[in-house]
Amino acid sequence: MLKLRWPARPPSAGKSHRGETRWFTQRLVETSPLRAADPRTKLALALGASLAVMLPLPRLGLFLAGYVLLVAWARLLPEVGRHLWRARWVLGLLFVVDFWLVGPELALTISLRVALLTGVFALFFSTTTPRELGLALEALRLPYRYAFSLTLALASLSLLEEEWQAIREAQAARGVQPGRGLRELWRQAGDLVAFTVPAIVLTTRRAWNATEAAYARGFDSPHRRPYQSLRLSRLDYALLGVCGAGLAVLFWGGRFLP
């Protein structure tokens, strides 16, 4: 059961140049007009959109039509499409099971709801940089030290990934090869420890080096003044207004809607 295989690299892995990790599916879409929007606005849009799962089918359909228009305007159709593509088997299975057990209406409703939940945050994450995420968290009253540690962790991902791979190779060079089946369970546990211990040690070292480097550059100074601060623009107000009004009409529009 505990049979692990250690691929040299995950299937979709690749490096454009040294250290830049691309094995995550999320990409920054620089051409999107949403890049200019405040991250808080985008977060609100995504959260609002995920509330729409509660709408009955005809209204959900209307909402999705509006949502697709927004995504198309934001030039994010390929991004959202990629997320849906990854969930295609589950969506398909849900549809078939619901269709078979209940009927087409429920099958369609459920599939649309899950599809919406799957794709909705791509709006935010594919148009926001880690620094902007940090600024948004700060603007949402998260203390700077927390926001900083989060952006630092995002900046460290490629380094940690390289270290994982290197630990795998370094331990394999000493004969540590998990995956021999159940017979040597205890030895396998030891093998796994040979991965986790260096990973913890290296991560701790990285954390300490970063702490030192941050303090050496004046971290925790009471005089800190952010270089950039977030401010809502006309685009943000327009987006919030249009999307808020749309959702309000869909939820409380009563008899004027199907």
Binding site: G19, A155, A166, R174, V201, L202, G218, H223, Y227
Partner: protein, 480 residues
Amino acid sequence: MTEALRLDAVSFRYPRDGLGVGPVSLALPAGEALLLAEASGGGKSTLARLACGLIPHLYHGELRGEALLFGQPISRQPLWAISERAGLVFQNPAMQMLTTSVEDEIIFGLENLGLSPAEVRRRLEAALQCLGLEPLRQRGPQTLSGGEQQKLALACALARRPDLLVLDEPLSMLDSTAARDLVGHLRELQAAGQTLLICEHRREFLADLPGLRTARLANGGAARPTAPAPDPGSAAGPLAAAEAFSLTVQSLTARRGGRAILRDLEFTLAAGQLVAVLGRNGTGKTTLLRALAGLQPAEGRLAVQSAAGETAPRFSLVFQNPDLQLFQASVRAEILFRLPQPDLAWYEWLLNHLGLKRYEEAPPLLLSEGEKRRVALATALMRQAPHGVLLDEPSLGQDAHHKAVLLRTLRQLTHAGRLVIMATHDLELAAQADMLLVLGANGLVAHGRPAELMAEAALWPRAGLWLPDWAWPAAETRPC
């Protein structure tokens, strides 16, 4: 004259093992440059941290004596206030990066000074221009080369305009060209009156910093004893001689992420040789070692020929970072890990020869960087791979004494008929090899004996490597 830094009988002891630095007394007048030099595992890094207030503000331990930064006691000022007067550049450039772009990296330190956005912008542009980082401003720091990262670290410190700039082994991970480049910037700073405190093993590179004073910490500085000189009687170790063989590499091409790192490499090496692989950062030195160790998928032919026929090469690989491997409770357990029938005579020889005997029962994680490197070397050598050993930057952070120990250990292997291949940017170490492989951006630039390759003056610019005079002990063979 104002004193930037004054230490009066200062000592610091870490709580863990009572090791640390001092007592040390020194005075660094403002506008001067001082080089701190002593054995590895001593107290250079501790002193660098002390000068910038990281000790005692971030470390537990016992501080004695008086340390003054521009006349103010370091222990009584808040750390952020100290950091406004003293900037620090660390040894490992990748580990001091905190953000996701070059610009953000510099801006981070400027924000903490409470400057207006306009002033931040001004200083950012000045720092980028001063260190030639403008074309890289949007790049992720982790995607830069080691030399570029270290320049960025220097830019981050300089943009804050500290009165004292402390550099903790800034050159140790750089190739010779990048190191010379960085020293060029230091020379400009020095000429502009910047006070510098530099801790560095590779003092050769700093030779052309005019007016650089050197302070040695040898007496009382290094609290950790260095490894004893190996017993000459044991120099002929117990390793049995191997059968003669040769390693043939033909059309070797290795890719990472679709990009060819190594291209059409062709060379032949013989058993009993000590081989150094040279090249700038990013030319594929480590990739070549990984390919030889069977860890890197590669096209082409890799074969070992001996009287018994042709086989695939079987080498042990010593990784650059020892922390990747060490996880046992003692040095002994670490070295003997999963060896069903260890050669205990060889084990004892290694332990004595590498100066690890006194740490046999100590946890490897608690050793100094240099000692951990030697433990990692011992774990690889204990496996006695039939064809020899591959080493990635074995001299990193090692002083002259430990480099000599390392060389003698490697010679023991070559005498026993093994092949030893090391990737390094340490030209002094490379000069002692039997054979050099010089890698450039487009593959193998040259291979041959060090003395022969030195004679080819046009070769080194092609490899992008700067070759200083001092790198070659056999200076009489140099054509000039």
